[in-house]
């Protein structure tokens, strides 16, 4: 039972390593894929992360283009629905409410 737990490499070492495993000193899980980690590391640093960088630049440049006037408030019945009050605060504000861009059913709060 104990002998079965000894890996093959130990056994071949005991036998003087004259078998087919001479010279191939790596775990069989990496067979033929030694450079794949290097490939993905290169992809990460030369493609993926620069792609993120370019996208960040794009957002930054577009944000400098100008703050637009917020649209005038029209009390559409299909928007700003209040069938039931929200279970927080005064029940009239959404969870990510931003007074500058989110009007209440009665209009912008800061007008």
């Amino acid at each position: 039972m104990v002998a079965a737990a000894i890996p093959a490499s130990r056994v071949s070492r005991l036998l003087g390593r004259s078998g087919p495993q001479v010279g191939r000193l790596m775990s069989s899980g990496a067979h033929g894929e030694e450079s794949s980690a290097r490939l993905w590391k290169a992809l990460t640093f030369f493609v993926a992360l620069p792609g993120v960088g370019v996208s960040m630049l794009n957002v930054f440049l577009k944000s400098r283009h100008g703050e637009e006037e917020r649209p005038e408030f029209i009390a559409y019945p299909h928007l700003r629905i209040r069938t039931k009050p929200f279970p927080w605060g005064d029940g009239n504000h959404t969870l990510f409410h931003n007074p500058h861009v989110n009007p209440l059913p009665t209009g912008y709060e800061d007008e």
């Binding site: 899980g29 030694e34 980690a37 490939l39 493609v47 649209p71 299909h78």
Partner: protein
């Protein structure tokens, strides 16, 4: 006698399935108490019980699989089946929300003005932050593949670097989405547009947070030498889940952000 003649894991009796079920009961009834009777106690108790169940149950599995050696290849195969089936169930979960979105947007009703996006809705520009978010998640898919290959090749330092990169990208995505939620000129209460947008992207964001947490647990386990180059199913499960989250985002981006604008 501790001698089993089969490859399966006969798990010791555990209280966590019961505490998990109880936490589900407390959370659901707690939501009712919160929505209708202005009390958060039951729900908070339920959430606490849920988090503690998850922590202790998964901690037990880690113990069983590492120190106790119960995760034979046969057991691992079962765990693989389990994770695959779970992810498939999540695919169906999101399919429902995509169904709702397409149902409403392909045939906009007269109440909305007969067009999509509906009258009064200014959708987010898909070429700004949403595009950055796409780049972030795609990049994180590359970095997690780097992590996996490093793990298989035994490069401990690289595993840590690449896992950390992936997690940071996930957190960056979450922060950007949160900022988008605050800056959006439309809200969840803005009719069917708001509902489909925030429920679909909201559940997606929740899954990003879950995935990032799973990856962080993998990072901690890697630091604690739990993984070997041949046996690291916890990491693989996290990687599968992360790729799933990425793919859902791609569908969201194309459907809701791009086509839907």
């Amino acid at each position: 006698m501790n001698h089993q003649t089969h490859a399966f894991h006969m798990v010791n009796p555990s209280p966590w399935p019961l505490t998990g079920a109880l936490s589900a009961l407390l959370i659901t009834s707690g939501l009712t108490m919160w929505f209708h009777f202005n009390s958060m106690t039951l729900m908070l108790l339920g959430l606490l019980a849920c988090i503690m169940t998850m922590y202790q149950w998964w901690r037990d599995i880690v113990r069983e699989g590492t120190y106790q050696g119960h995760h034979t290849p046969t057991v691992q195969k079962g765990l693989r089946y389990g994770m695959v089936l779970f992810i498939i169930s999540e695919v169906f979960f999101f399919a429902g929300f995509f169904w709702a979105f397409y149902h409403s947007s392909l045939a906009p009703t007269p109440e909305l003005g007969g067009y999509w996006p509906p009258a009064g809705i200014n959708p987010l520009n898909p070429t700004e932050v949403p595009l950055l978010n796409t780049a972030i998640l795609l990049a994180s898919g590359v970095s997690i593949t780097w992590a996996h290959h490093s793990l298989m090749e035994g490069h401990r330092k690289h595993v840590i670097q690449s896992l950390l990169t992936t997690i940071i990208l996930g957190i960056y995505f979450t922060l950007l989405q949160a900022s988008e939620y605050f800056e959006a000129p439309f809200t969840i209460s803005d009719g069917i547009y708001g509902s489909t947008f925030f429920v679909a992207t909201g559940f997606h964001g929740l899954h990003v947070i879950i995935g990032s947490t799973f990856l962080t647990v993998c990072l901690i386990r890697q630091l604690l030498f739990h993984f070997t180059s041949k046996h690291h199913f916890g990491f693989e499960a996290a990687a599968w889940y992360w790729h799933f989250v990425d793919v859902v985002w791609l569908f969201l981006y194309v459907s809701i952000y791009w086509w839907g604008s």
